[in-house]
Amino acid sequence: MGVINKQRNILDFTLSSLGRRKGKNLALVVVYTFVIFLLASVMFFAHSIKKEASLILQGAPEMTVQKLVAGRQDLIPTRYVDTIRRIRGVQSVAPRLWGYYLDALSGVNFTLMANADLKDRPGEIVIGNGVSWRSGTGKGKQSIRKNDIIPFKTYDGSVLTLKVKGILPFASELVTADLILVSEADFRKIFSIPNDLTTDLVLQVGNPRELSTIAAKIKQMHPDTRQILREEILRTYDAVFDWRGGLIIVVLSCVFFSFIILAWDKATGLSGDEKREIGILKAIGWETSDILLMKFWEGAALSLSAFFMGIFLAYLHIFLGSFILFEPALKGWSVLYPHFRLTPSINAYQIATLFFLTVIPYTVATIVPSWRSATIDPDAVMRM
C-alpha cells in the first residue's frame, strides 16, 4: 500500500509541477501531438486502404489470362476459351471486355467494361458515382442522372449515344469511381473490336493449390499469353500502398527530426529553477530514485497525452475526415479521386511501433539529464 501511495503522491506532485511550466509544456505537447497525428494518419491510411483493396479483390477472379504481342498486352482470341476450359481443374472461363475511354469533353479517362447483365440491353449503361459527379461541365454538381444520355465517340469516328440506366452504389466507390458498364455490343462498337477477340479471360479454379499448375499448362498451350494470379495483384497493391506510405513517411521524417531536436532541447535542458528544485527535494529527504520517478512520470504524462491525442486526431482525420491532408498523395490511380470513407482498421503492431519510437525515447530523454542533476550532493542547496 505504501508503494502505491508513494507513486500516487509523487505523481500528484508531478502533475501540479507540469502546470507550473505551462508555456513550455503546452508547446511541447502541441508539436508532439502533431507529429504523432501525421505519422499515425499515414499508418492508418495505408493499412486501411490495403485492407479495403484486399477485401474488394476477394471477389476478383483467381486468374486472368492475357495475350501478349511484343511484350505488350493485346486482344486475345475468344477461341482460347474452349481450349483452356478443357484443362482439368478449371471450373469456368469467361471472356472479359474492358478498356479506357478518354472523354474529350471533361478530359477524364473512364474505365469501360462490358457487363453480362446488360447483354440484351444495348444502348444502356450503368455508371460509377465519380462519373456522375465529374463528367460533363458542372464540376462538383451531379450533372448526370438516371435516364440522361452520354455521347461516346467510337473508334470509327461516329458518335454512339448511350442512356444511363443506373448509378453504382457509393460503398463500392474505391474501385468503381470511374467505371462505366456497357453492353458487349456497344463496347465492341465504341472500340471497333471484332467479335472473335476479347480483352482478357478470367478463370475460376476449383482448388487454389492447382493455380500455378493450371497457369503453367495454359502457358504451354498458348505460349503467347501471360497468367496473372489474384495473389499477385494483392501483392502489387500492398507494394504500391506501402511505397506511397513510405514516401510520405520520408517527407514527414523531416518533421519528425525537427520534433526530436525540439524535444531534446526542451526535455534535456534543465533550467536553473528545475535544478534548484531537485536540490531542494534531495535536501528535504527525497532519494535520487524518487526524483527519477518524478521525472519519469513527468515525461510519461506529457508523451502519453500527446500520443493518445495524436492517435485520436489521426483516427478522426482518416476515418471520419476523409484523410483530407493526404488525399492527393496516397490515393487514386486516375483523374477521378473517389470520395469514400475507409472502414476503420487499426494494426496493433503499428501502434506499438509508433509508441516505442516516440513515447519511450522521449521519456528516457527526460530522465537522463535529471539523473545527472539528481546525483548532486544534497548539501549543494545549503549554498544556493
Binding site: I10, L281, A283, G285, S289
Partner: protein, 228 residues
C-alpha cells in the same frame, strides 16, 4: 545525541583550488537542547551543519547518531535517516515556487508512502499551529517573508523529526519576525526537540531559547559552552 569525532571536510581535494572547510572538529550535540553555531562567514558553520544533518559526508572522521555510526552509510540509508530524524530550514527558505504552501509542507513526506488524506491533515494541523491555515492554498511566491519562513518551519516538522536544523534562519527577517522565530524554537525545544542553529545574528545567540553556543573560526571549534 550526535557525536562528531575528528571531523575533517576538504572540498576539491587534490586540485589547485583545494579548500579545507572543517579541520579536526570534535563536538557533541546534546538532545532536547538548543545549540547555536556562531562565527563569521567562511568559519565552517554551514558545512558543519550539513555534516551533522547527513546532507554531506566528512572527508575523514566519525559521526555517531545515538549509538550508531553513520559516517559511511550508503546514500539511500543516509537519506532515510535525514528524512526521519532531521527537519531542515534553509537561509533562503528554499520553498518550491508555483505550488501551494500546503503542498510545500507535504513534500518531504511524499517518499514515505503515507496516505494522502492523513498527510494532508497533518500538514494542515501544522499550518494551523503556525497561524497559516488561511494561507494553505496560496502559492508560496505570494507569501510575505514571515509567512514563507513559517511554511519552511512547517515543512521541516512534517515528518516529526527529533532534530531541527536551521541555517541562518533570521537572515531575511526583521527584528519582530526574528523574535517570533526564536519563540517558536523555544516552544519546540519545550516539546522535546533538539535544535541546531547556525547563525551570526546576535538575536539568535542572545535569545533565551539557546542553551549552548559553539564558536567557530577557520573550520575549527574555538569554544563551546552554555549560553549566558
Amino acid at each position: 545525541m550526535i557525536h562528531l569525532q575528528n571531523i575533517r571536510k576538504v572540498f576539491n581535494a587534490g586540485k589547485p583550488n583545494e579548500f579545507v572547510a572543517i579541520q579536526g572538529v570534535d563536538l557533541t550535540i546534546e538532545v532536547h537542547r538548543a545549540t547555536a553555531l556562531r562565527g563569521p562567514s567562511g568559519s565552517g558553520k554551514t558545512t558543519l551543519l550539513s555534516i551533522l544533518g547527513c546532507l554531506s559526508r566528512p572527508t575523514s572522521g566519525r559521526i555517531m547518531l545515538e549509538d550508531r555510526e553513520i559516517t559511511s552509510l550508503p546514500e539511500r540509508f543516509l537519506t532515510e535517516i535525514r528524512r526521519g530524524t532531521f527537519g531542515f530550514m534553509f537561509q533562503q527558505f528554499n520553498l518550491i515556487k508555483g505550488i501551494t504552501a500546503l503542498e510545500n509542507v507535504m513534500l518531504p513526506a511524499y517518499p514515505n508512502g503515507e496516505n494522502y488524506a492523513v498527510l494532508k491533515k497533518r500538514a494542515m494541523d501544522l499550518l494551523g499551529l503556525l497561524n497559516l491555515s488561511g494561507k494553505a492554498l496560496v502559492k508560496v511566491e505570494w507569501l510575505s517573508g514571515g509567512e514563507a519562513q513559517r511554511v519552511a518551519i512547517a515543512r521541516a516538522l512534517i515528518n516529526n523529526p527529533a532534530i531541527i536544523i536551521a541555517d541562518e534562519p533570521t537572515a531575511h527577517l526583521d527584528t519582530r519576525l526574528s523574535g517570533e522565530f526564536m519563540e517558536i524554537m523555544r516552544q519546540f525545544k519545550k516539546e522535546g526537540k533538539t535544535i541546531l542553529i547556525a547563525s551570526h545574528d546576535p538575536m539568535v545567540h542572545e535569545s533565551n531559547a539557546i542553551d549552548r553556543i559553539v564558536d567557530m573560526r577557520d573550520g575549527k571549534v574555538m569554544a563551546a559552552g552554555d549560553a549566558p
